[in-house]
């Protein structure tokens, strides 16, 4: 190939390298800075006197004798019972992912295998629902939930998140199932399977890559949600994100900002690991919708 023509002038190479380094700083530095700072006392992390204190931890050393302290983590996890929020988040995410994938695969499979006109309209309806900001739906949930005493419980929030998740799940899985050749289940049906049996024995064994990608995004939606969980869960059942928001309300006045910092770092760690393990799937999921259309 025209390797010589593709070769870049040195100046351009340097410029693009410098740009990448700057971007990486912008993208990643805040996380490392906050991680480092979460092991300091507040006056080091938010240093009025000298910003290098945040690096060396002078005041932390004065208070605790070491430049690092887990006081913020102890305060958040034990004193303020952040573990409860973490547990709630785990429960919510697990059930949201499982439920929305179960009903989503059935629906998405049906959409991909039916040639009727209403498929298009169902997909359009899903697209419109996907565009609705979830917060606009909340005032529709509250009166019936209060009346039937459903407000505040985890299952309620789980079902709502599953429903909000469905439009996106349907679109992803629909386009994914379309890539699986129809001959597969057609031939199973010729051999005497019902549609469901064809789905169960022929499609399910080959669908996992697409389902895992979709599941990742369902997980992210449930994990990252703030508007719905903050409005629909009571204090004991709060998940991590609304819990952190609640910290903010109280801690700025009580001087416990470090609890919030520690909680924020704790809630970022699972996402960090998730990207590390599933980077390929996330990238492919993000581009799936785009490159096609």
């Amino acid at each position: 190939m025209a390797a010589a023509a593709q070769r870049k002038p040195v100046s351009l190479k340097v410029a693009s390298l410098v740009f990448i380094v700057i971007w990486l700083m912008v993208a990643a530095f805040p996380f490392f800075w906050t991680l480092w700072g979460s092991f300091k006392v507040e006056l080091d992390f938010f240093s009025i006197a000298d910003w290098t204190n945040a690096l060396t931890g002078d005041l932390t050393k004065e208070t605790y004798g070491r430049p690092f302290t887990g006081a913020g983590y102890y305060g958040a996890w034990v004193q303020e019972e952040f573990w409860r929020a973490a547990l709630n988040t785990f429960i919510v995410c697990f059930f949201v992912v499982v439920t929305s994938l179960t009903i989503g695969t059935l629906g998405g499979y049906a959409l991909s295998r039916s040639g009727h006109n209403y498929v298009f309209w169902l997909l359009i309806a899903a697209l419109i629902f996907r565009a609705m900001p979830p917060i606009t739906l909340v005032s529709g949930y509250l009166p019936p939930f209060f009346q039937w005493n459903l407000w505040g419980y985890l299952p309620t929030a789980i079902i709502v998140l599953v429903a909000i998740n469905q439009p996106f799940t349907l679109w992803m899985l629909h386009s994914f199932f379309q890539k699986i050749p129809k001959d597969l289940d057609e031939s199973a049906k010729v051999d005497g399977c019902t549609q469901f049996q064809a789905f169960r024995f022929v499609i399910i064994p080959v669908m996992w890559p697409g389902v895992i990608t979709t599941g990742l995004f369902s997980f992210l939606l449930a994990y990252n949600d703030f508007a719905v969980t903050a409005m629909l869960l009571n204090e004991q059942n709060r998940t991590m994100v609304p819990k952190i928001a609640a910290f903010l309300g109280t801690t700025y006045t009580e001087g416990n900002v470090m609890f919030a910092v520690a909680a924020v770092v704790s809630a970022t760690v699972p996402l960090f690991l998730l990207v590390m393990v599933f980077q390929r799937q996330i990238v492919s999921g993000l581009t799936a919708g785009a490159v096609k259309g």
């Binding site: 351009l12 693009s16 990448i20 009903i103 606009t136 952190i244 903010l248 259309g293």
Partner: protein, 341 residues
């Protein structure tokens, strides 16, 4: 697939969406047209040895009965839409007549909560979206020219701002930009003003929120464009080189036209997503300087007041805004469908 089979396969997901998306939308519209009943008051006269006093008490029975008869509340029509908290028709008319210049009129408009939120939401949407597309495109070009081995690492770190929870991401940035944070101190140092603070300055707060918006969404644009760059036709690129196109001209006349559908895609998605900006306002504690439509809804719903009708009305107005932004997407999908059929 037979209709019958389709129905059973699709039923669970359809039920979920009908009950928890479609029905709430209807309910929100209804709530925005009704206001809760006021309590029925009755005047009672208590006569004692020191004369008579009249007191006003709530007639619990009558109130209860009224609520039972019409559980939706009192029909208000578009009253809530036009009140001061929303479209504020009367206030605008008055401001238009009394103010002497356009500037003064806009100033009065800025005092009305809905228009204040609208001003920020729209500025945010239409400033952040183009910026993040440009940034994402440049990152994609730069990463594409990298050595294969470090690409994965760069993509990993680039994904972080987008994957991380919006509220958490905005808090992390806020703690750094805050006057006691590292970037805040740097800005104070550069500006030579030790009192410069995000909390005290509206323009600074707007800029910080928009920086957050670009930081959060540029990775999405980057990933999409990067995938698009892998499919640029090499023949066209080579012929352009043979014809003597400079590097810039190759980008301008070969790569950009090839990526144009993706640019439209990212723009449409991001316009809709940025329109619902909400978490950064909470994270930056910015409501004194910037509010958005979503934030108003959240604020009306939370707190002690629990103003459902007001929240529902703002929700409907937000949905109308989203619908306007969504319409190009729908038209596009419709055309695709017609093209295929």
């Amino acid at each position: 697939m037979k209709h019958r089979t389709f129905f059973w396969f699709f039923l669970p997901t359809a039920l979920a969406m009908l009950i928890f998306i479609a029905a709430p939308i209807v309910s929100v519209v209804m709530q925005s047209l009704f206001v809760p009943h006021e309590a029925v008051l009755i005047e009672t006269e208590n006569c004692g040895p020191f004369g008579c006093t009249t007191s006003i008490v709530i007639d619990q029975e009558a109130t209860e009965q009224l609520r039972e008869e019409r559980p939706l509340g009192r029909f208000a029509g578009l009253e809530i839409y036009f009140d001061r908290g929303h479209l504020a028709v009367a206030e605008i008319g008055e401001a238009w007549q009394t103010s002497e210049s356009i500037g003064e009129f806009l100033g009065e408009l800025g005092d009305l909560p809905f228009y204040r939120a609208m001003a920020f939401t729209l500025s945010y949407t239409f400033i952040v979206t183009p910026l993040l597309i440009i940034l994402g495109f440049v990152i994609a070009l730069a990463v594409n020219s990298l050595n294969r081995r470090i690409k994965g690492l760069v993509i990993f770190f680039s994904l972080l701002p987008m994957i991380v929870t919006p509220l958490i991401g905005s808090l992390i940035l806020f703690w750094m930009i805050d006057s006691r944070g590292i970037i805040g101190e740097l800005i104070q140092y550069l500006a030579g003003d030790p009192d410069l603070s995000l909390k005290a300055s509206t323009p600074l707060m707007w800029m910080a929120l928009m920086v957050y918006g670009v930081w959060h969404s540029a990775p999405f644009a980057f990933v999409v464009f990067y995938a698009g760059l892998q499919t640029v036709p090499q023949d066209t690129l080579e012929s352009a080189q043979i014809d003597g196109a400079s590097r810039w001209e190759q980008v301008r006349y070969v790569i950009l036209p090839h990526l144009m559908p993706l640019v439209t895609f990212v723009a449409l998605i991001q316009l809709m997503d940025n329109f619902r900006v909400f978490e950064p306002i909470v994270g930056f504690n910015a409501s004194a300087h910037a509010t958005s439509l979503s934030w108003i809804i959240f604020n009306d719903l939370g707190g002690e007041t629990n103003q459902l009708s007001a929240a529902a009305t703002t929700s409907v107005l937000t949905i109308i805004g989203v619908a306007i932004l969504l319409s190009p997407v729908l038209v596009r999908t419709w055309r695709d469908f017609r093209g295929k059929a």
